[in-house]
């Protein structure tokens, strides 16, 4: 038994931790979709920028300071993107906003390319997170173990926030009916900004956890995690927070089990086959509400 655990536990651990990181990104996708019906393609790149900001800030200030600065910078970035690239298009067709999102995504990647000179940047070691631990004979980083815990705590906090606070109620109202909530006196611009800021806050936490594990940041680092988180959000039912989280864990764990079965070549293919299957069988995802006007 212990031999079996020692041989197979690393796959499960890697799966759970990757799943937690995807979940934090997926929430950003799903919340923005829930409110604006917009697939924010730039979200994965915001995640990458958070990683790069960490590389640069940690070089110039102590870690205790660097982490809050990274989170703050990412939140401000999310706010700025929404104000500059999406808000002016509020009354434009949805397709225009989506194209604007793709534009932002490429802009961020190219800016990162310019600043890094195209070279991979080594992510700093965060004390505590980057240490190695051994459980049941499998050695891994502390971050692998605490990722699912942090993810769950944040998700519970977020769900409570949405269900119990005034701003959360406003968010639910806006996501139900955009125009009516405006008529009812909700300042939708503030609500939308808050949504983007929460999404980016979670992406920043996700990037801290993700890059502590996989310590290299390149301008396209956000691409794959972003895409997989998006699949997770669709799988769980886009617009649903618990759905996104469950979808992310399913994808993370399955991917690693497939790698463990020796089918390494197909680990990415699995994620996208899952996307196709779910769209064919249950287009609204596991927890998705029935909607008539999806893009």
């Amino acid at each position: 038994m212990s031999g079996f655990l020692e041989a197979n536990l690393p796959y499960i651990l890697a799966g759970i931790s990757v799943g937690g990181q995807y979940a934090l990104i997926a929430i950003g996708y799903t919340m923005v979709y829930g409110i604006l019906r917009l697939i924010n393609f730039a979200h994965g790149d915001v995640f990458m920028v958070a990683g790069l900001v960490m590389v640069y800030t940690s070089a110039s200030m102590p870690m205790v300071l660097a982490i809050p600065v990274v989170i703050l910078a990412t939140v401000i970035l999310g706010f700025a993107i929404e104000r500059v690239a999406y808000m002016p298009l509020r009354s434009a067709p949805r397709m225009s906003v989506m194209i604007s999102a793709i534009g932002v995504s490429y802009l961020l990647q190219n800016c990162a390319l310019y600043f890094t000179g195209g070279l991979p940047k080594v992510y700093p070691e965060i004390p505590l997170l980057s240490n190695s631990v051994t459980i049941f004979g499998a050695t891994t980083k502390v971050v692998t173990l605490i990722t699912p815990v942090i993810t769950l705590v944040l998700v519970i906090a977020l769900v409570t926030f949405i269900n119990k606070t005034k701003l959360g109620m406003a968010m639910r109202a806006v996501s139900k009916d955009f125009e009516t909530s405006q008529l009812m006196g909700i300042r939708i611009n503030n609500v939308i900004s808050a949504t983007f800021m929460i999404g980016c806050f979670l992406a920043a936490i996700g990037s801290l956890l993700y890059f502590s594990n996989y310590t290299s940041v390149i301008p396209t680092s956000g691409g794959m995690p972003g895409l997989k988180a998006f699949v997770a959000a669709v799988f769980g039912g886009i617009g649903s927070i618990p759905g996104a989280v469950i979808g992310a864990f399913v994808i993370g764990i399955c991917e690693n089990i497939i790698k463990g079965m020796g089918l390494t070549t197909f680990s990415d293919a699995f994620t996208f086959v899952l996307l196709i299957v779910i769209l064919l069988v249950k287009p609204t995802g596991i927890f998705g509400e029935k909607a008539t006007d999806k893009v």
Partner: protein, 391 residues
């Protein structure tokens, strides 16, 4: 209002374009010969490409002119970034052809060299591969040459080394899916290793992958004595990091791509055994190295391009030799026309820092030994292990 703005913008663009045109016209006048530097400056191989370029730039600073047929020409390096990507290869190649280069140097990474080969062929411009080791680069054509050893040789060297040094019975090979360099080298390693009676497991990871824990666990579960992972340095960095945190202490072997200070930085302070085969061992030519290092340290951009310190990469030294091989070919041709240089190249010889360069019938340099070196994880430096041939 919008119309006025549109007109103003159009005029501004036209003016900017004419300004550009004037600039290039002036530069191409005078006695200048252009050498195209076809290298990745971004993407997975960006770090290696930049180091290879450094060698050429240093060579250019040592000898900025060339005398051809009694006339002194200034040598101008023209750069194109192939972004380590086969899709971008052709447009980068066309850019160099459009700039009027007489000969091309590069690229780091065999895939992009193969992808751009036909473009150079159609334009009738000869190319000199610096560290692209896949046989297909020069096979079946007469315009691509190369100054380094080949993968069948390198793969065999590493298989022999694994057997002799570690007594390896099982080897685990890991490369990037669809990468010509990785898969080619793994294939030759596998052939040689199986001939030596080893059991070989091969796996591949998709582009953009950053989670290697499962691959390393697979290697461990397969009972591998060595891991052979000749991938690009951005993935290497992650493999090293994760094998240290996972406590996988299987020796890591790789080819020439891993000869980079990216690897040294990643492995510093970790309990790992990393061995690579490469073209040149630092310390073999002290005079050359001290002046090269002084040149790198003299400029902050060069220092950043070399990964932040002055450890010489073998690819930089190869870049240096490639530049002088190109000059030797021009001198031999007695012309700066691409067609004449192409004719002269097969008979060009040059004795460089990395040894004598002489092309065989396929256009490959005749090289019969590789340097194997090992990471000293305590000092983050390379240690010489052996000069190994195939027998």
């Amino acid at each position: 209002m919008k119309k006025v703005l549109a007109i103003v913008l159009t005029v501004a663009m036209v003016l900017a374009l004419t300004a550009c045109g004037g600039g290039t016209g002036k530069a191409s006048g005078g006695d200048v010969v252009k050498i195209g530097v076809y290298e990745p400056q971004s993407g997975d191989n960006g770090a290696g490409g930049k180091q290879e370029i450094l060698g050429m730039q240093y060579a250019n600073s040592v000898q900025p002119t060339v005398k051809i047929g009694g006339k002194e020409y200034k040598v101008e390096l023209v750069y194109a970034d192939n972004e380590s990507s086969n899709d971008k290869a052709v447009s980068a190649a066309s850019q160099l052809i459009g700039a009027g280069c007489s000969v091309i140097l590069g690229s780091y990474g065999s895939g992009v060299s193969i992808a751009a080969s036909d473009t150079f062929l159609e334009a009738g411009i000869p190319a000199i591969g610096v560290t692209c080791t896949n046989p297909q680069v020069t096979e079946g054509n007469s315009h691509y040459f190369r100054i380094c050893f080949l993968d069948p040789f390198q793969g065999t060297v590493m298989a022999n080394f694994a057997k002799a040094t570690f007594g390896a019975k099982t080897a685990y090979c890991l490369g990037q899916l669809g990468n010509d360099y990785d898969q080619g080298l793994i294939n030759y390693f596998k052939q040689a290793a199986e001939a030596l009676g080893m059991k070989v497991t091969t796996e591949a990871f998709p582009e953009g992958n950053s989670d290697f824990t499962s691959y390393l666990t697979n290697a461990k579960n397969a009972g591998a004595d060595v891991i052979f992972a000749p991938c690009s340095t951005s993935y290497a960095q992650l493999i090293i990091e994760q094998s240290a945190t996972q406590g996988v202490s299987i020796p890591l072997l790789a080819g020439d791509t891993w000869d980079s200070n990216v690897i040294l930085n990643a492995a510093a302070g970790k309990n790992l055994d990393i061995e690579v085969s490469t073209f040149y061992q630092e310390g073999a030519n002290a005079d050359f190295e001290s002046s090269f290092k002084a040149w790198i340290n003299g400029d902050s951009t060069n220092l950043a391009n070399n990964g932040g310190n002055d450890t010489l990469a073998a690819v930089s030294v190869m870049g240096y030799d490639a530049y002088f091989t190109a000059l030797a070919a021009m001198e031999k041709a007695g012309s700066i026309a691409a067609a004449d240089i192409m004719k002269a190249l097969p008979d060009t010889t040059y004795t460089g820092i990395t040894g004598e360069i002489k092309f065989d019938a396929t256009g490959d340099a005749e090289r019969d030994s590789a340097v194997i070196k090992k990471v000293n994880t305590k000092d983050a430096a390379w240690e010489f292990v052996a000069v190994q041939g195939v027998n």
